[in-house]
């Protein structure tokens, strides 16, 4: 059982804890709750990738290297061979994808002043090869061949989760051994100390940042629930197979061919461009890094606010008195050092008003240096608040863009699944000749003909046995019932099931669906 379940435990509510974080104080912290949640989301991302891979095991691409010599050179360099591999299977692709994503992790770990970099040519080669594979998949317009493009999005998510977990575990509440209740009762000091500024030995994630991150993670689990639904469930077209087949088989072949042309056209002009655009977008490529950087900055600012900016609001002594006396001042008026007034604008806003006579009376007798120090302290407080607001908005916007991109891809894949299923059924009917004979004459009015379904149970069974399911489901006819077995994907671990259910998945099951076969329309 997870230590905390943030969705059901509002911030500040005491809950049952485990010793997973070393002490009850650490386990009860906001940081621990977020780390646990991120870990579960990470497990969910891993599980969804396994589920996708289980459905596309034999998938691969054979490359036309003669028309793409750049790809040939890239592949020969990646694998250090003279003759480049002319095909790529899922095992090769997943290794290339992981390497591409690990370049991102490298950049996050590598400090800006580091003298080392990933060899630019390897970066370009791996990116070219993995994207060539993905582009080929998208160009098929087939759901069961396009599905693996979600892998890149999910691996990008893992980069963000790891980075946020790293930020959170650096909070003193988790990085410094905390006192037991018995030690606290004897008012001992912590034996360990944080290496961070001001040694805030038990600083936790603030409630405001915790709530914000939990809100973002709520959206993330909804996105994952959507991906699970599309990966794990048969398409409605498939579960209504008898009705769909019965209705379609009343149509003449010419109508079925019209449908095929229309649906293929829809996929080519709507789904493929939309999926390609979402896939190639910076939202899918660059955002994991931006979100990781912003998350790390948010943690630093949150810490600073708690150990310095917040306590500074209640300074005592002379500085505290001075701060109170000058609380109503526009600090830009104090810090206006002339020339362009840029400091006063930055500190006090656009065109700060001059100091009034009453304010001047308060300042009389206070040395200018002290006035400036006090004003600078106030400026630091407001600047910190503004920075926090900016970073907070950045987290919201970046996560929204990332999840919108993932959500759009999932939605188009869901729609593509229906389209691919319908196309497969129509093509099977045309191929098997299970529909009405092709009418002759005025083919523009064929739909108005009243026809009697001619699909019998036997021919339906034959049709079903030849039908390849897009979702990876399997069909069988049992008497007068169609048995649809959902896609065979791995069973989700308990914590992953909890995430998916919190995200909105109502049922996680591999139970068969039994549909009565009624071939009348």
């Amino acid at each position: 059982m997870s230590v905390l379940s943030p969705s059901t435990n509002p911030v500040g509510t005491s809950v049952t804890t485990s010793s997973a974080f070393g002490s009850s104080a650490a386990a009860n912290s906001n940081a621990a709750a977020l780390v646990t949640r991120l870990s579960d989301l990470n497990d969910t991302a891993v599980y969804l990738q396994q589920a996708i891979l289980s459905l596309v095991q034999g998938l691969g691409v054979t490359f036309d290297l003669a028309s793409n010599p750049d790809l040939a050179r890239a592949l020969s360099r990646i694998y250090n061979v003279t003759d480049a591999p002319t095909a790529m299977d899922m095992t090769m692709y997943t290794e290339l994808l992981q390497t591409d994503i690990n370049f991102l992790r490298f950049d996050l770990l590598n400090s800006p002043d580091s003298a080392v970099q990933i060899q630019p040519l390897q970066r370009a080669d791996v990116s070219l090869a993995s994207k060539a594979f993905e582009s080929a998949l998208i160009s098929t317009g087939q759901y069961n061949q396009t599905l693996p493009i979600l892998l890149r999005s999910l691996q990008g998510d893992q980069v963000v989760f790891d980075s946020l977990m790293n930020t959170l575990t650096n909070y003193p509440i988790l990085s410094v051994p905390q006192l037991t209740p018995a030690q606290l009762a004897t008012t001992q000091n912590p034996s360990g100390s944080s290496d961070r500024d001001l040694n805030g030995a038990s600083v936790d994630v603030s409630n405001s940042l915790s709530e914000q991150l939990n809100g973002v993670l709520d959206q993330w689990q909804q996105s994952y629930a959507g991906i699970y639904q599309v990966v794990a469930s048969p398409d409605p077209t498939e579960t209504s197979l008898p009705s769909v087949v019965a209705a379609l088989s009343t149509q003449p072949t010419s109508d079925l061919n019209r449908m095929i042309a229309m649906l293929q056209n829809l996929v080519a002009f709507q789904h493929q461009p939309a999926i390609k655009s979402a896939h190639d977008s910076v939202d899918n490529q660059l955002l994991p890094r931006l979100l990781s950087d912003v998350g790390s900055t948010a943690g630093d600012l949150d810490y600073l606010n708690q150990v310095a900016v917040g306590p500074a609001a209640s300074f005592g002594g002379s500085i505290g008195t001075l701060q109170s006396a000058m609380a109503s001042f526009n600090i830009g008026s104090i810090l206006n050092v002339g020339i362009t007034g840029s400091v006063s604008v930055a500190a006090g806003g656009y065109s700060p008003p001059p100091i009034t006579a009453a304010q001047q009376q308060t300042l009389d007798g206070i040395p200018e240096g002290l006035q400036i120090l006090s004003a600078n302290l106030s400026w630091s407080q407001t600047a910190s608040t503004r920075q926090s607001a900016t970073i907070s908005a950045s987290i919201q916007r970046l996560s929204l863009r990332k999840l919108t991109n993932q959500g759009n891809t999932t939605e188009f894949l869901t729609s593509l699944k229906s389209l691919s299923s319908s196309l497969g059924i129509i093509q099977s009917i045309v191929k098997s000749g299970a529909n009405n004979p092709t009418a002759v004459g005025n083919t523009t009015s064929l739909n108005t003909n009243a026809v009697t379904p001619n699909v019998g149970l036997q021919s339906f069974g034959t049709l079903v046995s030849s039908l390849s399911s897009q979702s990876g489901s399997s069909y069988a006819v049992d008497g007068n019932t169609l048995v649809v077995t959902p896609p065979a994907i791995p069973t989700a671990p308990t914590n992953v099931q909890a995430v998916l259910q919190s995200g909105g998945v109502k049922q996680i099951t591999t139970q068969q669906l039994r549909v009565p076969i009624n071939l009348s329309v």
């Binding site: 034999g58 691969g60 036309d64 290794e95 770990l109 003298a115 990933i118 060899q119 080929a136 087939q142």
Partner: protein, 138 residues
């Protein structure tokens, strides 16, 4: 023919490519002379074929040699040697995937011949292991 997606790719022949890829690490090209050298080196292989000064030289030599029978014979012997651009070629090596690459230049490190450390991807799992690997590159 274009790229073809296969639902059931016979992948036995691809088993040799089911390998773990390392991270190729190298020092950054941070100095200006280094970048200049890289750019010059990258172009040198091409310049060997259409070096304009060489064309000018050939044009002028053709022009002035035509005035004398002896010079014409001498130039016809020399120009075959000039075309080889031997001194320039001596500074290049031929790599199958890259063409002519200058010896001893930064280009070699860029294409993976020199100064590249291949690190396993699991160095990214901890900052400590990452830092020690980075140190070994510099």
């Amino acid at each position: 023919m274009s790229d073809q997606v296969q639902s059931n790719l016979a992948s036995g022949i691809l088993d040799q490519f089911h390998v773990s890829l390392g991270l190729n690490l190298q020092t950054k090209l941070q100095d200006w002379p280094g970048r200049q050298s890289l750019q010059y080196g990258s172009m040198k292989g091409l310049m060997n074929q259409d070096w304009h000064s060489l064309s000018d030289f050939k044009f002028q030599m053709n022009l002035y040699s035509s005035s004398s029978h002896t010079l014409r014979i001498a130039w016809s012997l020399i120009k075959n040697l000039v075309l080889n651009n031997a001194k320039m070629l001596a500074s290049l090596i031929h790599l199958p995937a890259f063409g002519n690459v200058p010896l001893g230049s930064q280009v070699l490190s860029l294409v993976g011949i020199q100064n590249v450390l291949v690190a396993p991807q699991n160095i990214l799992t901890s900052q400590a292991s990452f830092n020690s690997t980075i140190k070994s590159v510099t």
